[in-house]
């Protein structure tokens, strides 16, 4: 288990922070969103439920769009488009 951050295609990125508890997922997500460009989409994979609440609030505060949300079995795959 280790954090991975990869560029999938132009404008699409993937951050996998499965296995990490707070505050890793939200802090890595914040750093990833700082790194990618405006309009890029970040696919975020995590399995710490409480981080989801913080990440959702972070997106809301910064105007980023949570465009897709796949939740189940203790794992979460969210797509965030950076404003």
């Amino acid at each position: 288990m280790a954090m991975s951050f990869n560029k999938i295609t132009d404008g699409e990125w993937e951050l996998n922070v499965c296995g990490y508890s707070c505050p890793h997922p939200q802090m890595y997500t914040k750093k990833a969103l700082q790194k990618i460009g405006s309009g890029d989409v970040l696919t975020l994979i995590f399995d710490n439920p409480s981080s989801g609440e913080s990440i959702m609030a972070m997106c809301e505060a910064e105007g980023n769009d949570l465009i897709d949300q796949q939740d189940g079995g203790g794992s979460y795959t969210w797509k965030i488009r950076k404003a």
């Binding site: 296995g19 750093k31 439920p49 609440e53």
Partner: protein
């Protein structure tokens, strides 16, 4: 923010998760009935069990972790949990006032001193690395998070070691405290001039005063003192001030942008504060529920104490024929309200005792809290109840997942948990016992704890962020963060 949700749908009442959750509930019911079949007076302990279960359900439902209340403010500028915590404080304070007025309060104020700031800062530094506060670690353990289980172990053993250690540890305290401890009229078996925590307790803490705001103003026994001083001045006013500050510094800018208000009126600002309070409905609902339950818990325990004519569960244990592990006063730890760290210290101390390490000559165990068998540890069952309650909720929401630690996360859990244990003992409690339970009952020392915890959390976030940057810079990836 928009959301095109495609979240997985629950698969019916008889889903595997719901059946497993029901199984956990039935286990607790069966255990409760078994205890009552042994002696109906175990109902006193079962109150802790079932309130713990309810706390666990709500903590998991609202992702309610007080560590994130301070950590996420500094780490990602999200006030969600700080808002939830303030809602819980306000509700608990109101219910606590009713309970106190009814004469069933079980609360005792903490001694006021610098030890609170120092302990809280160490505790606050630790919670950044463990991923949860003392209660948060329990509910996350109920989600299957083994890191959190390691945190609980670290909190338990670090406290047990801290309160009973002697030798070179004794050089940490000044001679004046040793002299003051020696002047106390205590039984020789406690050896209170040996062991740094005993010297700290008898030579320093016992000379400090704990008080409520109503007592400071000479209104302790009056309804006006309880309502105006303890509830309004100590809890509600600070909560309102903090909510306004959270709105101004963390929520207002984004809210005005989303609502398109360029020149907001006072009404717009009030609407904004309300929007902030309900922005996470789960957290707000959990805050309301936890606040009310915490007050009710105190009430139910108070009623049972009156019913059985006792001040402490130890008296009931003696009456039921259980003598082992009681303090020399025939007492055990029995706060009568939501508390976490002391019972975990007892778990650690009890296990150490099974390996021949005696801790009963310490003030913490030998005089004050005892070292009961975990099967007779009432607040300990509250902690277990929190784990099981969180498991029930996580299973029914399909969020339960066994998560094994990596070397990195295990290291953080053990080091952070150890710091939490040390900090909690110095500050006389964690974010629950030294903050949540205090400010809601008129004891202003809890705000000092929160201040110290924020200092520690701020430093922790700085160190953690530095470590993340350093760690990422070592990875050979063009996409390193």
């Amino acid at each position: 923010m928009s959301l095109a949700g495609t979240a997985a749908q629950p698969s019916g009442v008889f889903s595997k998760g719901n059946l497993q959750a029901l199984g956990v509930l039935l286990f607790v019911v069966a255990g409760s009935l078994w205890a009552l079949s042994l002696d109906t007076r175990f109902v006193y302990m079962l109150v802790y069990v079932w309130f713990g279960l309810a706390y666990g359900v709500l903590l998991q439902y609202g992702r309610f972790c007080m560590a994130s209340a301070v950590r996420d403010l500094f780490a990602v500028k999200v006030p969600r949990m700080a808002v939830g915590m303030m809602i819980a404080v306000a509700l608990y304070a109101v219910v606590a006032a009713v309970v106190t007025l009814a004469g069933f309060s079980t609360f005792h104020p903490n001694a006021l001193g610098w030890h609170i700031v120092i302990g809280a800062a160490i505790f606050g530094f630790g919670i950044v690395f463990t991923g949860g506060c003392a209660s948060g670690s329990l509910y996350k353990a109920g989600e299957g998070n083994m890191n959190s289980m390691l945190v609980i172990l670290a909190i338990s053993f670090s406290q047990a070691i801290v309160v009973s250690a002697s030798g070179w540890w004794d050089s940490l305290v000044p001679q004046s405290w040793v002299d003051a401890a020696a002047a106390q009229d205590m039984p020789a078996e406690l050896t209170i001039t040996q062991g740094w925590f005993d010297i700290f307790t008898a030579g320093h803490l016992w000379n400090l005063k704990g008080t409520t705001t109503a007592e400071i103003f000479g209104m302790a026994e009056t309804a006006a003192g309880i309502v105006l001083m303890n509830t309004m001045l100590t809890a509600i006013v600070p909560v309102v001030v903090i909510l306004v500050a959270l709105y101004a510094f963390y929520y207002r800018k984004g809210h005005l942008r989303r609502s398109g208000k360029v020149n907001p009126t006072l009404g717009d600002e009030v609407a904004g504060i309300w929007a902030m309070c309900i922005s996470s409905k789960n957290t707000a609902i959990a805050g309301i529920g936890l606040g009310i339950l915490a007050g009710l818990h105190m009430y139910v325990t108070g009623v049972l104490r009156e019913h059985y004519g006792i001040f402490n569960f130890g008296e009931l244990l003696v009456a039921m024929g259980y003598q082992d592990g009681l303090s020399i006063q025939d007492t055990v730890f029995d706060p009568g309200y939501w508390y976490i760290t002391t019972q975990e210290a007892q778990w650690g101390g009890w296990i150490m005792q099974q390996f021949g390490i005696n801790s009963m000559d310490s003030i913490f165990f030998g005089l004050e809290n005892g070292l009961p068998n975990p099967l007779l540890n009432a607040p300990g069952f509250m902690s277990i109840g929190i784990i099981l309650g969180a498991a029930v909720m996580a299973l029914s929401r399909r969020e339960f997942k066994w998560k094994t630690p990596s070397w990195e996360t295990a290291f953080f859990a053990i080091v952070g948990g150890t710091l939490m244990g040390i900090g909690a003992r110095l500050a006389m409690g964690c974010n629950i016992g030294a903050f949540f339970a205090t400010v809601t009952n008129g004891d202003p020392s809890g705000w000092i704890f929160l201040f110290g915890m924020m200092i520690g959390a701020y430093a922790g976030v700085k160190v953690f962020s530095w470590w993340m940057d350093w760690s990422a810079s070592r990875k050979e990836s063009e996409c390193g963060l």
